[in-house]
């Protein structure tokens, strides 16, 4: 199981989503919105018996989507487009197109959105954004 490969897979999956300027496997100090970035993860081991492998591991990735400097109507409009459950601008649809992320994981589910329209501070700059929780299962 390669966590960084999963992060890269998530970023790659949304690279061609309409309107995305940056798709990053991890958050950098400076961003150029609209930016998608994997921000953190929680991992739970031992979801199955281990056997000769690793057993199934469940990882919940938090992914930020940041659409504008500060609060703006344009930012809010862009944000709801990215958070739509389907369509060419949907992050969920793009990530779930290949649920293995090119073989980096066994399967995944874009589970929910948190904190939409909230301001997130990155390097002392406030960005309008939201967090997507992506649950990923790995078996090897």
């Amino acid at each position: 199981m390669d966590v960084q490969a999963i992060q890269q897979g998530l970023a790659t999956a949304v690279t061609n989503v309409t309107g995305i300027e940056q798709a990053l496997p991890s958050l950098t100090d400076a961003i150029n919105p609209p930016t998608f970035a994997v921000t953190e993860f929680e991992m739970t081991y031992n979801q199955t018996f281990k056997g000769s492998g690793i057993g199934m591991v469940e990882t919940l990735f938090s992914c930020g989507i940041y659409t504008s400097h500060g609060n703006s109507e344009a930012g809010r409009v862009a944000l709801v487009g990215f958070l739509a459950p389907s369509g060419s601008g949907s992050l969920k649809a793009a990530i779930e197109t290949d649920r293995t992320l090119g073989g980096a994981c066994a399967t995944l589910l874009v589970e929910r959105v948190r904190g939409a329209y909230r301001l997130y501070t990155i390097s002392s700059i406030d960005y309008l954004g939201a967090i997507l929780d992506v649950r990923v299962w790995s078996t090897s």
Partner: protein, 248 residues
């Protein structure tokens, strides 16, 4: 003796030709004996009891996957009600000599499902149709065999005239051209196996399969092992063998 708690992370579950280990996250063994009341007026005001018929039930929670007879759904579906498949549960690593519980079962329940957004899982229930033996692993699942050979000697003990040695063969992976695997269980007076006696010969396996078998006591030999004869074009097998002694 110092108590060393066992965290259940590496339990092995072999059912028919399925290694459910990497799919499963819960297993329970429930051997029972019928409680027969033999209380009389002479019992002094207390119940008296004796044991009746033994029974066993094993249940497991296994994530769903289908494909071939090495996958949970294919095996559980094929075995529902079939009543012929061996089951082996090993609480630890599955290495040779690991403690194993083994029996032959009737699969009586296969419940599949999940809430939306959750992983598809299944609950499988097996009822024992022979004694649940407490024995050991004679051959580990994780060691691929591509040529004939013999396994490690294990001292399971002698088998009395009122007992049987029960053995389960699980053939979990097969490759090569016209592969064939014949497994025997042998006994010997000591661990040198200078003059072994064949006690069980499983039917030759040419694909994913399983077989329960047994031999009736008395067997005074206390040491046991498996041998395997493999033929075919670049054959390779993964198989597990467990054995234990229990009343006949």
């Amino acid at each position: 003796m110092t108590f060393t708690p066992q965290v259940l992370t590496d339990c092995r579950i072999y059912f028919a030709s399925l290694d459910a280990t990497g799919y499963g996250n819960k297993v329970e063994l429930d051997p029972t004996v019928e409680d027969l009341d033999k209380t009389t007026f002479g019992s002094g005001g207390w119940h008296e009891r004796t044991g009746g018929l033994f029974d066993s039930q094993v249940s497991a929670t296994v994530f769903w996957q289908a494909g071939d007879l090495s996958q949970p759904d294919d095996v559980a579906w094929a075995q529902l009600g079939a009543g012929t498949a061996p089951l082996t549960v090993v609480p630890t690593s599955g290495a040779v000599g690991s403690l194993a519980y083994l029996t032959q079962t009737l699969e009586t329940s296969y419940k599949i499902g999940a809430d939306v957004g959750k992983l598809v899982s299944s609950d499988i229930t097996w009822m024992g149709k022979q004694p649940l033996a407490r024995g050991q692993v004679l051959h580990p699942q994780g060691t691929a065999r591509s040529s004939s050979g013999s396994g490690t000697a294990i001292q399971l003990g002698a088998v009395s005239a009122s007992q049987r040695l029960y053995a389960n063969l699980h053939v979990l992976s097969v490759s090569g051209g016209t592969p064939s695997l014949t497994v025997k269980v042998q006994s010997n007076v000591d661990n040198t196996f200078g003059a072994p006696t064949d006690r069980i010969t499983f039917t030759a396996a040419t694909g994913l399969t399983s077989q329960p078998s047994n031999v009736l006591g008395a067997v005074t030999d206390t040491w046991w092992r498996v041998t395997w004869t493999i033929s075919g074009s670049t054959p390779s097998f993964l198989f597990a063998v467990s054995a234990g002694i229990a009343p006949k």
